[in-house]
Point group: C2
């Protein structure tokens, strides 16, 4: 029985959510990067292999650093019987989503497309990938609220404004700057990059405090 892994790479590029698609050579349709899992290539290895292929333009040490860090997290979207979707495909499709950080997304092999446009009439996204993407986008608001998803998308160092604009875009909500600032202060999940008397402009996420997001949420 064949088990395929599909990965939906997500990036935040110029204030819109983008997903990376590649062209399926047999059908000329756009699909998400995938790999057939094998006896010696399980989920973890398959995910790593897809990412190493996509990001072969990124310096090796930077890529490995990210892959082994808390910032590199893939999340389950769902699992599908592909024979129920399309008669010709006999496999189980495991679909996972992964946020690519801002410093890598421009190096990725493939085409970044605006997620919303992929549902338009003239989109050439394959029908199964369309289904995978729809379910993935449904879950984005929950990921933004209760996981580190937003911080996985941001570059490692960011300003509060970067963060606020990204949260607003991902959750399709207007985020009030004052309330957001107070909430961040209360959650205490950011580390300043300078200290002392200087005014702080750049921050890092405190990855060891990820549980705070699961319990309290990044936004109400």
């Amino acid at each position: 029985m064949k088990t395929e892994l599909f990965l939906i790479p997500i990036a935040a590029v110029s204030d819109s959510l983008r997903v990376l698609v590649t062209k399926d050579p047999t059908s000329d349709r756009q699909t998400f990067p995938s790999i057939m899992l094998k006896q010696d290539l399980h989920l973890h290895g398959g995910t790593r292999q897809i990412l190493r292929d996509l990001l072969s333009g990124v310096p090796f040490a930077d890529l490995e650093n990210w892959l082994n860090s808390a910032r590199c997290k893939d999340r389950i979207v769902d699992v599908y019987d592909r024979d129920l979707l399309f008669e010709q495909s006999q496999s189980i499709a495991i679909v996972r989503a992964i946020a690519l950080p801002q410093e890598f997304s421009s190096h990725a092999k493939g085409v970044w497309l605006d997620a919303e446009n992929l549902f338009s009439q003239d989109s050439i996204l394959a029908p199964d990938s369309r289904l995978f993407l729809r379910e993935c986008l449904n879950q984005v608001p929950l990921w933004v609220k209760n996981t580190t998803f937003t911080f996985e998308l941001l570059s490692q160092v960011f300003s509060i404004q970067d963060l606020r604009l990204l949260v607003g875009m991902l959750s399709s909500q207007e985020i009030d700057p004052g309330n957001f600032h107070r909430r961040l202060k209360r959650l205490d999940i950011l580390r300043p990059l300078v200290s002392g008397q200087q005014r702080v402009h750049k921050w890092e996420f405190a990855w060891e405090k990820s549980d705070v997001l699961a319990a309290d949420g990044l936004i109400p």
Copy 2:
């Protein structure tokens, strides 16, 4: 490559959340019902087969009715490389959760155990099943809020009080009766079972309105 499906059957029994475990004959540990997926037994068929085995005591027509209804929904928990968890198991484990309705849960083959107690020191739940259950329970509050999960657990016909107590138990919150009543009225997701001048005591969920829960939430 082997792909296994694990199903976590969930029921609400006398005000606590229970999960169904079976005994693994080789290790004497408790595990969740599972099945090896095969070329001719994909996800959908595997889920059905586990359920038909577990619920063989339920009248055939009732069981098939439920299996083919909107009330029977299984949800992904996650997918795991079992070789990363335990050296001796070389497989990919797809873990899904399913709510068994109140009228069936007492007929299920296996032992219903209080979900929280399965983490106690003297629990004999297998380590991998323990991990699966922890992730599943993490997701229950989200399922209660934004999916039909609560209505899948209830019997088909219920009182508002049944619903309120169940939502309170599942979300570990005190649900105010007046606010809950007003919210249900606004969401307009229930169908009364009697009409006219009589006071309504019994309700059904309007399954065609499931989208309302995804958008607005059953609780704030």
